[in-house]
Amino acid sequence: MQKSEMYVGWSTKEDVRKRGGSGGLVTSMLAAALEKKLVDAVVVLKKINEFEAVPIITSDVNEVLNSAGSLHSVPSNFAKLIANRNLKVALPAKGCDVRGIIEQGKRNAINLDNTFIVGLNCGGSMHPVVTREMLEVMYKLKPEDVHGEEIEKGKLIFETKDGKEHAITIDELEEKGYGRRESCRYCTIKVPNNSDIACGNWGVTGDLVGKATFVEINSEKGAKLLQNAIDAGYVQVQKPDEKGIAMRAKIKGVMEDLGKKWKGKVFVPIDNGRLEYFRKELEHCIDCGACKAVCPTCSCGDVSKCTEYHFRGDAYKMSMYHLVRFLHLADACIGCGQCSDVCPVDIPLTRLYRRFANPVQEQLKYEPGMDMRKPPYFEVKLNE
């Protein structure tokens, strides 16, 4: 097995196949890594209910096999969870998780040689509270009656306990303010080729639809992880057909184009009153520091420039905390949306950070979290 090879695979364990998404390959690959001591620990989601799961670090193979798989309404980011813990670890990761992990690696908070990143194709995630409201308002369903969910052909489908499926197009949901988180809509990392191995259901064809995972090996570590799972008897694979490979590439292209369109829609240029726009958006800030604490690319700790230059007793019209963070994130923001998720006064922080990051990262031709390249120096140009 080597880099760039593609396979279609599934778990050999029937219960994992049933419970895990798309044949349970990821769950089994993680369990095998633990069982065969390729890693000391694995990160999985422990399911609480259909709309809640909590990420845990575990060395218990059974806990991995009984984990939740992936849930669209659990928008967590695992990078900070494993930072500064010196673990030999394997973990599933959406594109933004992978980018966070790589950025922590650049900042020496994660040893990437000891980190096996299982990338998950991702079309976007949803906020659980918004999802519950969406079920009641748009689907006319009680959240308690929901048994499972799936995204297929542009539709968000919920399965209820009576076995019925309820589908609405994502476009319609997003038009009404539901559906994916804003940052997911304009994200263009749909297949995480920055991970060690990229997994997802796009490209699975024929009888295997819904029962298998399409994988692409991106690194030696990725090959080792999959081979280990096969050798341990946890996973079976076969070569994908040409139709599947083409289909996967097509879906990836369509999703990326959609992300670009959303980017244009969200980031309408502000020609005048740019300073007033930022001041207004930040006027309700209560200085909780949650945006920094949750940021998967920040590794400064408690003592950092953004906090040390800022004092609540200062009467600046825009706090130094935010100004320093705008500057720091211009070349570091990965657009994961975590800061907006946790902001207690609903400041659309990711949108604000991206307003600085988009032009800077485009000008520098530098996308953080995509590889180990360090950010180039940037210069400030003053308009004459």
């Binding site: 309700h284 209560i286 520091g289 949650a290 609540r312 009467a315 998720d341 902001c343 207690p344 006064v345």
Partner: protein, 471 residues
């Protein structure tokens, strides 16, 4: 290796914010985005919880001991005191423990607030607030609080209401950014209330009874809705669970300690130094504190049970939403049993809690149905501060918990800065009752005769303290 994670509720106030506490090398806070009260979002206090949960050990007269022996010694001293013991809990613990405390307390129970001074038919209105979704759908909101400092998670609900077209009037000492109209407390009589108005105030041990009556009266006369926010994790639960119990106010408790009729004070998950003057505490023969995190007061007996996040039990938030704590610990209940000379069974207390709420199971996504009885006409005579300059203490989670915060300054007006010729980066001298302190200052949209502070400086006399200021 496996992470230990607790799904819990923030003890900062009664908003009911869900979160995870992760026990690794140290405590970590993690965001529980599915929580209906806060969608996983936390304020500055919630983010500071690893500092709040300071480990604690059981002690008797300064000597470390087991929780059982500390509780046995407490029982012995309470029994020897023959009716001179008061039992105090502001509501920072589970309904199950509060029911047990009520049974243990016999004749002297104090939840801190002054229900005795208020009409009985307002008890339910004061105890249980309205759902936050009703705040988001209100047409006119009148604030008698500073939402940013006191109950920060309500800010997003207010912004949501404003985005839907609500008018927000702040009756406060400072102009609030989210308000469409800012008026000062002394001008409240000029304000027009209608049946579409929703009044948001708060109710706590330092609430001025006449001020509370005034708010109730304004709502009554206009047919407006009124909701009271509260500062302790389970204030609402404490009031519901002690609904028909005879309760003493904090002022009465302090009086009784000063008179010497109360010689032993038993505090359950409540830091007495926060609310009771240290001179009064010094008069006690025995101060017994049962708690889950280190108190900043010297108690004769410390009964150290699990911190709140490890407990099993029920909390009820401002909306009346019942929330189950995700821990399994009941050693607080066991200790209370030893103190009371009985054995408390969690399951039967839990059944009583469900019965009191009229629910078959604790479900955080469904708010139980509460009666919201109308109350009669109320006469109120709120007093305005007469001092030339007043220091207004804005009580917030950090102050209630005596947790340090980055708020060591006062806010004052630009006119005051100019009149006193204060210099940027300089200090303001504040004098009160013979004490003097120097503080940093921040210019803010406040009246010229007001200093606002979100921290206790040690010179305060309640919410409003007359002071003299100079450069």
């Amino acid at each position: 290796m496996s992470d230990t994670i607790y799904s819990t509720i923030c003890p900062g106030c009664n908003f009911g914010c869900g979160l995870y506490i992760r026990e690794n090398r140290a405590l970590d806070v993690d965001f529980r985005k599915s929580s209906p009260a806060n969608a996983g979002k936390l304020c500055r206090f919630g983010m500071s919880l690893p500092r709040f949960y300071k480990p604690i050990k059981s002690m008797v007269d300064g000597k470390e001991t087991s929780i059982e022996d500390a509780a046995k010694e407490a029982a012995k001293r309470i029994s020897a005191g023959k009716g001179s013991t008061a039992f105090l809990s502001f509501g920072n613990t589970t309904c199950e423990e509060l029911l047990a405390l009520r049974k243990a307390s016999e004749s002297y129970l104090c939840t801190g607030v002054n229900f005795e001074g208020l009409p009985k038919d307002t008890y339910q209105t004061l105890s249980v607030g309205i759902p936050y979704s009703e705040i988001e759908n209100a047409k006119h909101i009148v604030l008698f609080i500073d939402p940013y400092e006191q109950y920060p998670l309500i800010v997003r609900r207010l912004i949501s209401a404003k985005n839907k077209g609500a008018k927000i009037t702040a009756v406060w000492w400072k102009d609030l950014a989210l308000a469409t109209e800012n008026i000062r407390p002394e001008d409240v009589s000029k304000l027009q209330f209608t049946k579409d108005s929703l009044i948001i105030a708060d109710f706590h041990p330092f609430s001025d009874v006449e001020q509370v009556k005034s708010v109730l009266s304004l709502a009554k006369n206009a047919g407006a809705k009124v909701t009271f926010l509260k500062p302790f994790a389970n204030s609402t639960g404490a009031y519901i669970m002690s609904k028909d119990a005879k309760q003493k106010s904090l002022a009465q408790l302090v009086d009784d300690i000063n008179k010497g009729t109360i010689k032993t004070l038993f505090c359950l998950e409540s830091n007495p130094l926060e609310l009771i003057p240290s001179e009064a505490l010094g008069k006690l023969t025995n101060l017994i504190v049962q708690t889950g995190q280190a108190p900043d007061t010297k108690a004769n007996i410390v009964i150290a049970h699990e911190p709140l996040y490890k407990k099993k039990g029920t909390l009820i938030n401002n909306e009346g939403r019942a929330q189950a704590l995700g821990g399994a610990g009941t050693n607080g209940l066991d200790a209370l049993g030893i103190v009371a000379g009985t054995k408390f069974d969690f399951n039967s207390l839990h059944e009583s809690v469900k019965k009191a709420l009229g629910v078959a199971a604790i479900d955080e996504f469904t708010i139980p149905k509460y009666e919201r009885p109308a109350y009669g006409a109320i006469q109120a005579a709120p007093k305005q501060p007469e001092a030339k300059t007043a220091l207004v203490s804005v009580f917030n989670p950090f102050m209630w918990s005596n947790l340090s915060d980055d708020n060591d300054f006062v806010e004052l007006s630009l006119n005051t800065v100019r009149a006193l010729k204060l210099l940027k980066g300089g200090m303001l001298m504040i004098k009160s009752n013979g004490s003097a302190i120097e503080k940093r200052f921040k210019v803010a949209p406040v009246p010229d005769n007001v200093l606002l502070s979100c921290r206790k400086f040690g010179i305060e006399k309640g919410t409003i303290t007359p002071v003299e200021i100079s450069r």
